[in-house]
């Protein structure tokens, strides 16, 4: 009796999460998929295995897809370059300031995403000190920063930076300092011990941070909406306008699946490249 019960425990534990996932993710996904193969105008849509929705979506919107991946890629890279030193400093150098600094990383979340992004409209406005400064050093072609791709990438970087910092911090914080000491005892230079000991041990954090930043950034539309101008719209904006302004539900659904597939492919390649041990963390060592 008790062994049966013990065997059932994992299923009970998984139950609520699985039901949640099925009801709110898998079922809607199924309807979206069905919608993506329909044809006609709103009011008379018909299911017809219309795979051309996919090829049309790709051929019409490939430039916005590429742009989204480029913007998200640059934002992820910049986030990583900013986040790693910061996470390192918080984990190893912050001492008693550690909690305060962690709080500072999370503090922006107390304001909504939308408000924070709109605040950047003011920060980067044409007559703001930031723009004047960038114009003076020749970094603001046309005298503007707002309504450019640069502003969109800056917004993405700012908004997703904490998702990069926190996992890297979490993995650095778990690094056993004795391993670094051991490296030094074995005559490793500071650079060598960082490259051979600290960096590999923090790899799971980097992998998680890159995924948590890149995936939402690629599908984001808020930053392009408020900080971008003409020619800076991302694929999220296109899906939104297909669905909400053109009433073209099938194309919107098809494009969503295309985006999902491309992100999955990118992630799979990335994990292959970065190694699944890094993602699985210590368990896989």
């Amino acid at each position: 009796m008790s062994t049966v019960r013990r065997r059932l425990v994992p299923y009970f534990l998984l139950g609520p999460g699985t039901i949640w996932l099925v009801v709110f993710f898998v079922v809607p996904l199924y309807y979206m998929f069905k919608l993506s193969l329909e044809t006609g105008l709103v009011g008379s849509l018909e299911f017809s295995w219309h795979w051309a929705n996919y090829s049309d979506a790709l051929s019409l919107y490939h430039s916005q897809l590429i742009r989204s991946f480029v913007y998200a890629g640059i934002a992820t890279l910049v986030s990583l370059l900013l986040a790693y030193p910061l996470a390192y400093a918080i984990a190893f150098k912050a001492g008693r300031w550690r909690n305060l600094m962690l709080f500072a990383v999370v503090a922006p979340f107390f304001t909504t995403y939308l408000i924070r992004t709109i605040a950047w409209e003011t920060i980067l406005g044409d007559q703001s000190p930031v723009t004047e400064f960038m114009n003076a050093i020749g970094l603001a072609p046309g005298g503007k920063v707002l309504a450019t791709g640069f502003a969109v990438i800056a917004g993405l970087t700012y908004n997703f930076l904490p998702f990069m910092i926190l996992p890297i911090y979490a993995s650095l914080e778990r690094v056993d300092v004795r391993l670094i000491e051991a490296a030094k005892d074995l005559y490793a230079s500071a650079t060598q011990s960082f490259l051979r000991v600290t960096l590999p041990l923090s790899a799971p954090g980097i992998v998680a941070g890159v995924l948590l930043t890149f995936i939402p950034a690629a599908g984001d539309y808020v930053n392009a909406q408020f900080l971008g101008g003409v020619g800076n719209r991302m694929i999220g904006n296109v899906i939104q306008s297909l669905y909400l302004s053109q009433s073209n539900y099938p194309s919107a659904a098809a494009l969503s699946f295309v985006l999902m597939a491309l992100i999955m492919i990118a992630v799979v390649i990335y994990i292959r490249f970065a190694g699944s041990e890094a993602l699985m963390g210590e368990e896989a060592q």
């Binding site: 299911f47 007559q127 971008g228 003409v230 053109q246 539900y249 041990e277």
Partner: protein, 387 residues
């Protein structure tokens, strides 16, 4: 060792789980039976609202943000005893339609009894059978006070299912400090304003205004005329002439000096000028676009009696004056000017709130697009927006 082990098992287990959940979902969906599709209206012949003797109970009204003053709703509640749930959940005609369409198709209204939407959108909803005909016996104020120019619009010749909420004009708003000499839509394409122009992301307003610059009357425009105007806008977008396509967030670009001029709405111009005297409405020399938004009662709306009581209430000139004073758009109710002449003489004189026939002589009504023409035009315009 464990590393290779987990590498081998991980993805397989993942795939197995995915397949299992997908199969389960398909099973569930099959049990649920279709339902995801989009069908036309519950009834093709629109039904007429059924009224009770006296308004009572509660009613939910959906409107755009900042489109009513603070006291009209409480005053109405006091006068009639009806409890009003007033929600400002409309931000765009298309968005609202597309969000509600699946439930409207089932003959339900999502608990709402009044929507306020643009002429072209209510036309479309009416054709899909999503709206009810009004019972005019409960709308004596509307019969009496509706502005003559709005009594017989082409889309609803006898106002059988719509009651105008507010009207307005789409034209040019400038920052006169930066661009004092802009007076026409054509000037917005001059290279000296490069990167300093915002245009509305509304296809039915921006594109016809550009047509007017090209000398085409939007009322008689062919699909080719639409496409030609869209091409002109596209050229300006790609050359960097147009900075952004906006909704009413052009206000922040205007006030912070990011742009010299925008295509914008008359009511916004009145309000922005109060805050910043440099902001000014310019009636385009080519003329403006005129539009109205209408109150409608959707199919399946609870308590239509109270909904009609509200429509009737806001058509009492002294009640409407309160709204007009706050929203600064063009009021559809006769007699409001006389009320405001005593209360707020400055507003009563304002051409943007009470436009004279000569002020709007070159203006055009928002054109109606239909079927595949609508789809092609919107697709072409959205391609410019999404550049």
């Amino acid at each position: 060792m464990r590393s290779t082990d987990s590498k081998g098992r991980g993805p397989l287990a993942l795939v197995a789980t995915l397949v299992a959940t997908a199969a389960l979902a398909l099973g569930l969906a099959a049990c649920g039976g279709g339902g995801g599709g989009i069908e036309g209206g519950g009834s093709t012949a629109a039904s007429t609202v059924e009224l009770e003797a006296k308004p009572s109970g509660s009613v939910t009204i959906s409107n755009w943000p900042l489109y009513i003053d603070k006291s009209t709703v409480p005053d109405f509640e006091q006068a009639t005893g009806v409890k009003v749930k007033y929600v400002e959940d409309i931000n765009s005609n298309e968005e609202y339609f597309n969000k509600l369409q699946p439930i409207l198709a089932k003959g339900e209204s999502g608990g709402r009894s009044i929507f306020v939407l643009a002429d072209y959108m209510v036309t479309k909803m009416h054709e899909l059978g999503y709206l009810q005909e009004l019972d005019k016996s409960a709308l004596p104020n509307v019969e009496r006070n509706l502005a003559a120019s709005l009594k017989h619009p082409p889309f609803d010749p006898n106002r059988s299912y719509t009651v105008p909420w507010q009207s307005g004009m789409t034209g040019i708003i400038v920052n006169k400090e930066l661009a004092p000499e802009i007076h026409s839509i054509c000037q917005l394409f001059e290279s000296k304003y490069k990167g300093k122009i915002d245009m509305l992301n509304e296809v039915r307003e921006t594109v016809p205004l550009v047509m007017k610059c090209e000398g085409v009357d939007p009322a008689n425009a062919t699909e080719a005329d639409w496409m030609k105007a869209i091409d002109k806008i596209k050229g300006a977008a790609e050359s960097g002439q147009i900075r952004r396509f906006t909704g009413n967030d052009y206000a922040s670009d205007l006030t912070s000096g990011n742009v010299d001029a925008v295509i914008g709405w008359s009511g916004d111009a009145v309000q922005l000028q109060i805050e910043n005297p440099d902001i000014e409405w310019r009636m385009p020399t080519e003329g403006c676009m005129l539009w109205s938004e209408d109150m409608v009662i959707p199919v399946g709306a609870p308590n239509p009696t109270a909904a009609e009581a509200f429509m009737n209430y806001v058509y009492e000139p002294k009640n409407q004056a309160q709204i007009a004073e706050y929203v600064n758009y063009v009021t559809p109710v006769e007699g409001v000017k006389q009320v405001l002449e005593k209360k707020e003489p400055k507003l009563a004189e304002n051409d943007l709130i009470f436009p004279s026939a000569s002020f709007t002589k070159n203006c055009s009504n928002t054109p109606t697009l239909k079927g595949t023409e609508e789809q092609n035009v919107i697709q072409a315009f959205d391609a410019v927006l999404n550049g």
